[in-house]
Symmetry: C2
Subunit: 153 residues, 2 copies
Amino acid sequence: MIGCDPMNSRYSRATQQLKKHNIRLSNRRLKVLECLCNKLDHPTADQIFVNLHKEVPSLSKTTIYNTLHTLVEIGLVRTLNIEANKTRYDIITEDHGHFGCQTCGRIFNVNIELESLAKGELSGFNIWERNLYFKGICQKCLLNKNKNREVVY
Amino acid sequence: MIGCDPMNSRYSRATQQLKKHNIRLSNRRLKVLECLCNKLDHPTADQIFVNLHKEVPSLSKTTIYNTLHTLVEIGLVRTLNIEANKTRYDIITEDHGHFGCQTCGRIFNVNIELESLAKGELSGFNIWERNLYFKGICQKCLLNKNKNREVVY
DNA sequence: GTTCCTGCAAAAGCTTTGCAGAAGA
DNA sequence: TCTTCTGCAAAGCTTTTGCAGGAAC
C-alpha cells in the first residue's frame, strides 16, 4: 500500500539520488528531506518551517524553498495544488491520488492507477504528470460530526 | 461533448440561477459571466480583468473576485488549481478533467467520468469535488516543436 | 581558490479586507 | 429608504530574487 514504505528506505534512496546529482547532503537539506519522509504528510513549505524551527531555529524559509525546488527538479518530490495558493510537497512520486478533508485539513493518499486514464482522448499528447484529487469530509470527521450532533441537539 | 454547449444556453441558465438566489444581474456581473461562457477558457481573474478592461475600463479586480466568489458559492463555477498560486475558473461544472499544456499554456477539457473512481477506498467519506488534471505538451505544440527542429537543425 | 549553500531583506504576485460612495429595488 | 454592489487603497500571504557572507570541496 502507498505510504507504508518505511522512512529509512525512502530517505536513503533519496540521499543516494542527491549524491548521484552532485547535490551536497547538507544538514539543512537532510532535515527538510527528513520532514518529508517521516514527520509530515504532504506539508507546505511553511509547515516544514514551523516543524523544523524548534530544532534548527536558524533555518530560513529561503533554504526550505531552495531545497524543495531542488528535490522537485530531480524528481524526488512532487507538488500538489489541492488548495488554492498553497503548494504542498509529496515525497511519494508513485502514481496515486489524494483526498483533502475540508474539516480536519488532512490529505489522504488514494491508491489509484492514473496512467490508463484518458489514454484515447489524449493520444498524441505528451503527458508528464497526472493528478487526481478529491475534496470532502473524511470518515473520522463525519463520525465526529454525528457524535457532536447527538450530544448537542 | 463537453464544452460545445452554446454560450447562450449556459449563460441564460446561469442568469436564471442568479435570479433564483436573489443576486442582482448587474452589468458588471453579467460581463464576467459572459467572459466565462464565451470569450475565455478557464481564465484566471487577471485574464478576465485584462479581457474586459478595454470594454469596461472602470471595472475593478475586486468586483471580478467578488463575482467569481459568488458564482463559485452558488455552484455555477468551479475553481481549478492546475498551476501553483493561480486560480482558474471553469463555467463547466459537469464531471470532467483537464490537460494543461506547459508550452502554450492552454487548458484542454478531457471527457472523463470521475464519479466511479476510488469508490471503494473512499467509502465512508463524503466527496464534494473531484479533480483530475494532466500536465504535459499538447499535440499541436509537439508538432510545432518537431517542425522547428527540422528547420533549425 | 572556486564552487556551492544559506539567510536576510526586499520585492513580486495573487487575493482579501475595510470602508465609503454609488447604484438598484 | 434600505439593501446590495462597487472601487480604491491597503494589507495579507505565499513565493521569488539579489546579494553578501559562509561552508564545503
